[in-house]
Amino acid sequence: MDALPLYLDHAATTPVDARVAAAMAECLTQQGTFGNPSSQHLYGRRAHARIERARSEVAGLIGATMADVLFTSGATESNNLAILGSVRSRGQRAHVVTVSTEHRSVLDACRQLEREGHAISYLEPDAQGLIEVRQLEAALRAETALVSIMHANNESGVLQDIAALAAVCRRHAVALHVDAAQSAGKVPIDVAALGVDLLSLTAHKLYGPKGIGALYASAGQRAILQPLLFGGGQERGIRSGTLAVHQIVGFGLACQIAGVELPGQAERLTRLAQMLWEGLADLPGVLRNGHATRRVPGLLNVSFEGVQGESLLAGLSELALSSGSACDSDSDEPSHVLRSLGRNRELAQSSLRFSLGRYSGEQQVQHAVAAVRREVRRLRAVAP
């Protein structure tokens, strides 16, 4: 077998940290913490205790209290629960403000609300990928029930100024939901300081397992959220279903580790991404997508003029990276995120998203730079 490609797609998903995998494995043995946390016997009580420890680890990463953290199956569910749950619980028709470059789990939940009779405003970010305070302010209406804006964009890596946007929402007494799937564990988040009402997390972008996430929900939001899943009454009745102990244990530890390592990793990944950019920037017709500095560490999105995107990716089979969001890659349409950053169809399609991670180093960046330079030159030489 050939060597595995160099993994540069941490924004799609991360490998599970070995420490996290070990903690999970303990829950997957007959002697281990396998009980149903709802059970009253020792197995159940142990499982329950582990879950509460994990809950405090997740809460700790984002400055929340344990009561604010509801476990879900991932950020897709968290986004749906936040958006559908907070708007459906209102009797009347409501208005929601979001951004055209949100993740599909936000946009499609909003579209569902439109089908249910609610109104949605889609803000357009500027050519740097940013939403301005005035823009948000202008979109708010008397009947606005919710604003949903992501922290770090999954394609461009651009970070919104959530504190400033949250201040607008607070001033207008509108709830703010933030999809932090791509930023949690990579940049500091303090829900209390930011004044966010709802915030979505997923474990598999921060070296935890896939299929587990959380919704941070303030007490006020918890009181009104309509569940998506009804049943056993777990998670304060807002999210029923047997709690997946090993998943939650892994998620908790992943958050704890991410929090401890955040300052060092943020600095390191910012430097590596800069090195990557500098290694490519002197090629002609190379454009960095999104704001140069307001971005999540380790993510770099670059368009290459005159190079067809699919061929570029295919030529780089020694690298594992994506030309758009992995979540979107079933469709053939050029990325709406890159289009909104001012790229035309071809440039949007000829973009590469490099997302470095905990196990990426300088050597790997150099390897990636060399491969991309080679392939861009080769394909340009072939082009008419």
Binding site: E310, S317, V382, P384
Partner: protein, 132 residues
């Protein structure tokens, strides 16, 4: 199986060795071009003739790996062909049709539209010759 290279081994090999990419100049060279970069695929063929024989084939292409691999594959096959085989309707007999190319190279049928651009360029080039 889903794990395999979606290009397939044959397309992968061609795509990684686009030896016939390039242009031809000078006497006896016929060119044909089709598609537009803005539409995702653009292909140009250059054929150098020597007597009744296709002596050299070069192409330039902007497009997906299947498009580039097909250009390379055709270039390899066309080299050495007799001129007559390239006249407008006969071209399909010499090198087949896009559905046949797709079948031969294991190209998914959704990509057929792009192969039509390749065929167009080739017909143009061949047509230049036969018409000239």
């Amino acid at each position: 199986m889903a794990e395999e290279d979606p290009l397939g081994a044959q397309v992968r090999a061609l795509f990684m060795d686009l030896a016939h990419a390039g242009d031809l100049d000078g006497a006896g060279v016929c060119r044909g071009e089709a598609g537009r970069v803005a539409e995702g695929t653009q292909v140009r063929f250059s054929l150098r003739l020597s007597g009744t024989r296709v002596e050299q084939v070069r192409y330039r292409a902007y497009g997906c790996p299947f498009t580039l691999a097909t250009c390379e594959w055709l270039a390899r096959q066309l080299t050495g062909c007799q001129l007559s085989e390239l006249s407008a309707p006969a071209i399909s007999m010499a090198v087949g049709t896009p559905p046949e190319w797709a079948a031969a190279l294991g190209i998914p049928s959704q990509r057929l539209g792009r192969l039509l651009v390749v065929e167009d360029a080739l017909r143009q080039a061949a047509g230049r010759r036969s018409g000239s």
